[in-house]
Subunit: 386 residues, 2 copies
């Protein structure tokens, strides 16, 4: 096990009927910005529950945060935050709204000249402060409710970049599994795939003798495999919704990745597919991961075998056969959720692969737990998905 430092002070308020507890968590003397997306919170009743909990608090609203939230929209919200002297941001929605809230919170108090530098990393200082944030999560997937991560897209340059800072970790997050009841199949499936790949990226690397971290990761994978299909089959299964929701949070609250190598290549490559073609984030991960497993099968051999055996019960066959089976079962799982896993399913062809590889070549990116995934390997990974 590697040395590590871990601190996660986010307060989780979990369960049905918990949105009413917002009242006790919000600051009394601050103007609150209620941030949300495209309107699903009006249809599922969450908006009404939140408004009722906030009665009497000084508040204004900013709606219209997109899936894959844009820098352009976020900067409009930053204007509002500054002009109205907002003291607290309450993000109500899925990972996109939460990620937007984090960027807005940091950008509003940013001390550099260009807030885009929060994402490019060109600003040399760590982010010093941010407007405090609370969240009401309506879509389990990204783990944003219990971490300091945020991913923002810039329309003008088709870029999708991430930042992470402890100062934008939510003060609290309300997780009511009943929010899942009104989600379309596509969003449930995307959320399951997103959480599943988050775990894989902290698990499927190389062994460093960290058996507890392995088992925590495997526990989340097994639970997602069990519970995901139950929710797709019957949307109002509260127990399955609760187990999925808690699994998605645990998948990316930092805990399972402590003291072990990580490989975020799937996210790195997947972001480009969203940037160029607007493919749902969860789907890009389901497309890319099998390619990463195939191209990096030598480097990841020991962990792919362990994954195959403990998750899918693959205990016999030669090593290459067992690896092939583990990859095939992973693909089958995504497809069983209704997620196509090949680029042509999304009308993406070799031209996009060229453009993505060019970007990685220009950026001199080297992804993976060994830093050995350069633009050539990215090409192999994506061509495998044609």
């Amino acid at each position: 096990m590697y040395n590590f430092e871990y601190k996660n002070p986010v307060k989780i308020i979990f369960g049905k009927g918990q949105i009413a507890k917002l009242r006790g968590e919000l600051p009394q003397n601050q103007k609150i910005l209620l941030l949300y997306g495209g309107g699903s919170i009006f249809r599922n009743g969450v908006y009404d529950q939140v408004k009722s909990a906030l009665e009497g608090f000084p508040m204004l609203e900013f709606g219209g945060i997109e899936a894959n939230p844009t820098y352009e929209t976020c900067m409009k919200a930053v204007e509002v935050v500054r002009q109205e002297k907002v003291g607290f941001i309450l993000a109500v929605g899925g990972g996109s709204v939460l990620d937007a809230a984090k960027f807005i919170a940091a950008a509003a108090m940013f001390e550099g000249s260009d807030p885009w530098d929060i994402l490019t990393g060109k600003y040399s200082q760590p982010i010093a402060k941010a407007i405090p944030i609370g969240t009401v999560l309506t879509l389990p997937a990204t783990g944003s409710e219990m971490n300091g991560n945020s991913v923002i897209s810039r329309k003008s340059t088709t870029e999708k970049l991430a930042f992470s800072s402890p100062v934008v970790m939510p003060r609290f997050s309300v997780l009511d599994p009943e929010c899942i009841f009104s989600l379309p199949d596509r969003q449930v499936a995307n959320g399951v795939a997103d959480a599943f790949v988050h775990v894989m990226e902290q698990y499927l690397t190389f062994p460093v003798n960290a058996p507890l971290q392995d088992r925590l990761a495997e526990g989340i994978l097994l639970t997602l495999i069990e519970e995901g299909p139950k929710i797709l089959a019957f949307r109002n299964d509260y127990e399955a919704a609760a187990n999925f929701m808690w699994s998605a949070t645990m998948a990316l609250n930092g805990l399972i990745g402590q003291g072990v190598p990580q490989d975020w290549a799937t996210h790195g490559i997947g972001h480009e597919l969203t940037a160029f073609h607007g493919i749902d984030h969860g789907r890009t991960l389901a497309i890319v991961l099998p390619g990463v497993m195939k191209s990096m099968r030598a480097q990841k051999e020991a962990k792919i075998l362990q994954y195959g055996e403990r998750i899918w019960g693959i205990a016999s066959g030669t090593i290459p056969e067992r690896i092939d089976q583990a990859i095939a079962r992973t693909v089958d799982f995504f497809e069983s959720l209704g997620i196509p896993t090949r680029l042509p399913d999304y009308e993406v062809g070799s031209e996009t692969i060229d453009r993505i590889c060019q970007r990685f070549e220009v950026r001199k990116s080297r992804l993976g737990e060994h830093g050995d995934i350069d633009f050539r390997v990215v090409r192999a990974i994506l061509e495998d998905r044609l």
Copy 2:
């Protein structure tokens, strides 16, 4: 899964050589009280590492905290804290020193009349404030490094009582697995048993459809079973020490118990064995747990069967046979660590059982996840251990 609220802001600094990082974690302008126990930190070099990290900080020392820390000793430290206007307590040691630090921190700022009421629960308000605490853990066992729990004994009345409060959670805890290298077998074995039983008390109740919590718990149990014997066989196995240390912390940082029933009967009864006979805490748990499993086998049936199968591979036989086997394997595990599990092994007989049961009768205690363990059941549990 039940509704829950969870927040754990303790910063964990984990790994070899990490004690030097203390400098960056301590307040600059506060007088620091270095709190420790009987002197093992002088023999294992931890005292020197801490002193070197603290060079230049205003500091005083208070040593002599006992295993099973006493109210009497703690109140002497409270005097020092008040007189010297201590602003931060750095606890260096095992669970006893950490638990003492929490009580001292709360007692020094207690607003009621008698600090003992922090433990009896007679003070009607929640504990409002405490001197901030940091810890350097030298003995994995209690999980005190990442929770707000504390257990204190009172010599004058042979009582052993617990309290829990978020205000006494450490600001940070340094966990250096190399501290384990100098521990005697007995303390390693006790620590493994303590952590094991912490998990069992949050796991071995009744199913509430919380598969992730179950798997997290099982992951810790399996890791303790694997790693404990390795450390006993070869004390300087850093990897095994690290895995044990992180498992013991994860066993009682609150996470695995969220949203599920809990049963702290083993601790409740075990504390009495320590109060009357001074038996090591970890050993009392290894004595009592098999009795709890036997007496509560009907109520715990589903989870005992799951535990037997997933932890010990017991997959065949009638239900009573499988339960018997699961209990037998648990006993064998404790005994394999060198921990005797029957009362006569500690020269404890039926007279003590009478005294303990009388206490539970007077207190009208009802332990267990169903609140159905009264003094009569406590008698059955303890008589089983004769």
